[in-house]
């Protein structure tokens, strides 16, 4: 190990393995290979794979916002609740006869407002966002329960374009997957190619130096939390479009999957950098695991256990591979 020649060899390896997404790629390929071997065609069928991708899209969309937040050193635990609230608000609006575009806009505004409230509370009260969103998680979910009277919302006017799109395909690929890719592309560009994205990561890397660099920390925090809320609302509307009914229980526990997706994808909790591509791959990995457990006819209860274990394993693999 300690002679110059193998040093050069090591360095080549290190360069190959030094990107943040390596852990999730290794884990995803491994899990896919294992499933292919054990369940065979049932897994690799296009219909099944698209089903997996669609499942992944709910938290994949939100993972994009979460990567931005984590790279800034912030976090949002209320994303699942925001999704639910948006889902219910949009559904109720449709049921009450609001035209579809307005209902969607109202949903998006609701989500953005949730994020804005999170950001403002954190900045004005000087409370860490993890605490703020721990509280608003319950508040937003509560609003959703009140609005929906804790029952699913259906009986919409017929022939709604939203539902046709939501359950439909575009070029053979589910619409929500396209939406995930679009949000992902936007997030990737914002994080990697805009001054906003770089400065946000600067805050995550070293908040004090960011302050000395003239970056308005509070404004950036509020903006990022608002973006997170908006992204969660996109996921909420897509969820409604696919299920064709508003459900006060949808989105429950999503915050964990979303944060896990981002972390599995190589975004550090400590901030400073992040990978949108990794976040989406992380969401795919979680969806693949959940799908695999169904195909292997595990009970849903065990599925919950295995999902958690695999999250830990994927993060550990990423860390180990990089440390080598």
């Amino acid at each position: 190990m300690h002679n110059p020649k193998s040093g050069k060899y090591n360095r080549a390896w290190r360069r190959l393995l030094a990107f943040d997404e390596i852990g999730v790629i290794v884990a995803l390929l491994t899990v896919c290979a294992l499933l292919w071997i054990s369940v065979g065609d049932a897994f690799v069928q296009p219909t099944n794979l698209f089903q997996v991708a669609r499942q992944a899209s709910s938290y994949g969309i939100m993972a994009v916002g979460m990567v931005l937040l984590l790279s800034m050193g912030e976090i949002d635990l209320s994303v699942g609740a925001t999704l639910t609230l948006v889902n219910i608000v949009t559904a109720v609006s449709l049921r009450e006869g609001m035209p579809m575009p307005f209902a969607i806009v109202l949903g998006l505004v609701t989500g953005a407002t949730c994020g804005l409230v999170n950001g403002l509370l954190g900045v004005l009260l000087r409370i860490p966002t993890i605490i703020v969103t721990l509280g608003t998680m319950s508040v937003f979910r509560g609003f959703a329960l009140v609005l929906s009277k804790a029952t699913p919302i259906g009986h919409f006017p017929k022939n709604n374009l939203l539902f046709d799109l939501g359950s439909g395909n575009l070029l053979g690929v589910p619409t929500s997957v396209w939406v995930m890719l679009a949000v992902g592309l936007a997030g990737h560009v914002v994080l990697g190619c805009t001054a906003f994205g770089w400065r946000a990561q600067a805050i995550g890397s070293n908040p004090q130096a960011a302050r000395f660099s003239g970056i308005p920390l509070d404004r950036y925090r509020i903006a990022a939390m608002t973006i997170m809320g908006l992204v969660a609302s996109v996921a909420g509307v897509m969820e409604l479009a696919f299920l064709q009914s508003g459900s006060p229980t949808t989105g429950q526990g999503y915050e964990l999957y979303v944060i896990a997706s981002a972390i599995i994808g190589g975004t550090a909790l400590t901030g400073g950098s992040g990978s949108v591509v990794g976040g989406i791959l992380g969401a795919l990995l979680i969806a693949v695991i959940r799908n695999g457990l169904v195909l292997l006819e595990f009970s849903a209860y065990w599925g919950t256990v295995v999902t958690g274990a695999v999250i830990i394993a994927a993060v550990a693999i990423g860390g180990l591979v990089k440390r080598q």
Binding site: N3, R11, A202, S205, R211, F212, I215
Partner: protein
């Protein structure tokens, strides 16, 4: 000096990846001496100390203590041999008391297995008294000054009955008075027969304290010298492999001072007990501010850069009154601040050189669609790498992997990129090796010659004297005296800083 070597290193080498951090190093440390190890950043002195402290093991070669070959596999093993190290970054628990820190992980217990607070308090009092340190064992460590924290770490090693205490860059964060206090403690340790290994690149201080000096360069042993029989230029020559001219580059004369650029009138900041302060500065002028910790220099710089609000007074730049409310506003008005601590306040350590260099000027590097143009980022970075002589193989290298001097140059590049009219330098050569220091001095002169106004301070008095055209001495938030360049000696400056008026 005793003749038998206490610690003997024989042909010690250590590689990291393919790079030799230490290459065939052989030298000896005598019992009871103060042995300085000097070298530029990256020369291998830290690695050397980590071998002795058991943090790393040598790849080849042996370490002998009192003639016996020892294997220092981990820090615990090294401590058993009586070796303790006080790192540059102190390792204390800020929310616990002095006594709790001194006995951390080695708590004294009473008959029933509980923690014996009384005994630990007494032992702490004893060991602090031995070092003549006036601290209560019950005090919380967090709010203490950095010098006091260091004293606690030294007391801890003493309490552990260490025979060899390694001090890694002990005074890089200390001011002159605190340094004097440290020397006092180091001499007390020697008087007790303890061997002190003193790693530093501040040669003045090394010469003031060490019995012998070992020089390393590029991982190789260059020689051990008796302090009394060597000179600073000789040591510098050993450190950088060539002899340096005068330690401060000569100003190109004939650079007439320009118009008055900055007028500060009756500036006050009440919560920091600053002011009223008034002074003016011209284009092309370098103004030095000297003062002890808490004298108001840091506070003045913070107010000028918009980090803290001024409570009254006026700042006029080019006849235009300015309200500097945030760093962003200050930056837009042409101010720049090189902060004191590049790790904490200056750089994104886990970021590349390119990202750090361009962070403040991203708005000027946008291409079509308002996206960052990576080509422009690259050009800007390359320009500054070349202009400041940043030693790196790639602009994508993380700044954490650069030497202190190169990190400082990245920090300078980051702020020079904004094209400032007034540049504040708060201790610009802290933790920087001799070669890079010289380059930074030359850069300051060059910037002044181009008409920039520089406001600077330094933890080293001679740096202020060597660099500045005029020096203001601050004490208790007010300007105490003003010196013209070349009008004063270091001794006189130190006296003035301490608030005395006599000439030294």
């Amino acid at each position: 000096m005793p003749d038998t070597p206490f610690i003997q290193l024989n042909h010690v080498s250590k590689w990291f990846g393919g790079v030799a951090a230490l290459n065939d190093v052989t030298f000896a440390i005598c019992r009871g001496e103060i042995h300085a190890v000097v070298g530029e950043n990256g020369a291998g002195k830290s690695t050397l100390m980590k071998l002795l402290a058991g943090v790393h093991e040598p790849d080849t070669g042996e370490i002998r203590i009192e003639g016996r070959n020892v294997r220092l596999a981990n820090p615990r093993e090294a401590r058993r041999q009586g070796i303790s190290i006080v790192f540059q970054e102190l390792n204390l628990f800020p929310h616990r008391t002095v006594a709790a820190n001194i006995f951390a992980n080695r708590e004294l217990t009473n008959r029933w297995g509980g923690v014996d607070r009384l005994a630990m308090r007494e032992a702490t009092r004893r060991v602090l008294a031995e070092l003549d340190v006036d601290l209560s064992p019950e005090a919380l460590v967090g709010p203490l000054a950095i010098g006091e924290k260091q004293q606690i770490e030294i007391a801890r090693t003493l309490e552990q009955q260490s025979r060899i205490i390694i001090l890694d860059e002990p005074n890089s964060a200390l001011n002159e008075t605190e340094s004097q206090r440290l020397f006092d403690i180091v001499r007390r340790l020697r008087a007790r027969g303890i061997t002190v290994v003193y790693v530093s690149h501040r040669l003045e201080e090394v010469f003031a304290i060490a019995d012998r000096i070992t020089v390393v360069r590029d991982g190789r042993f260059q020689g051990t010298y008796e302090t009394a029989k060597t000179t600073i230029p000789q040591i510098i020559a050993g450190m950088i492999g060539r002899s340096l001219g005068p330690s401060f580059p000569r100003r190109t004369k004939g650079a007439e001072l320009g118009r008055v650029v900055l007028q500060v009138r009756e500036l006050c900041h009440h919560s920091a007990h600053l002011g009223p302060i008034s002074f003016t500065a011209r284009a092309g002028e370098i103004i030095g501010f000297a003062g002890l910790e808490g004298a108001g220099v840091d506070e003045l710089f913070r107010v000028l850069f918009g980090l803290d609000p001024m409570t009254s007074g006026q700042i006029v730049v080019r006849d235009e009154p300015q309200r500097l409310t945030t760093p962003l506003v200050a930056m837009r008005r042409g101010w720049a601040l090189i902060p004191e601590s590049r790790r904490e306040q200056g750089l994104m350590m886990d970021w590349s050189i390119a990202r750090n260099t361009t962070l403040l000027v991203l708005d000027t590097l946008l291409g079509r669609l308002g996206l960052i143009d990576s080509g422009k980022v690259r050009t800007t970075t390359d320009h500054y790498i070349k202009r400041l002589g940043i030693a790196t193989d790639s602009p994508e290298k993380k700044v954490a992997h650069l030497s202190g001097g190169n990190q400082q140059k990245v920090l300078l590049a980051k702020w020079l990129a904004t094209g400032p009219g007034i540049l504040i330098l708060n201790d610009p050569t802290r933790g920087v090796d001799v070669g890079a220091k010289y380059e930074i001095y030359a850069l300051c002169h060059q910037l002044a010659a181009q008409g920039m106004t520089l406001l600077m301070t330094s933890s080293e008095g001679e740096e202020i004297l060597g660099l500045a055209d005029r020096v203001f001495v601050l004490s208790k938030g007010k300007i105490l005296r003003e010196f013209q360049s070349g009008e004063t000696s270091k001794a006189e400056l130190l006296h003035a800083m301490a608030g005395r008026t006599s000439t030294g």
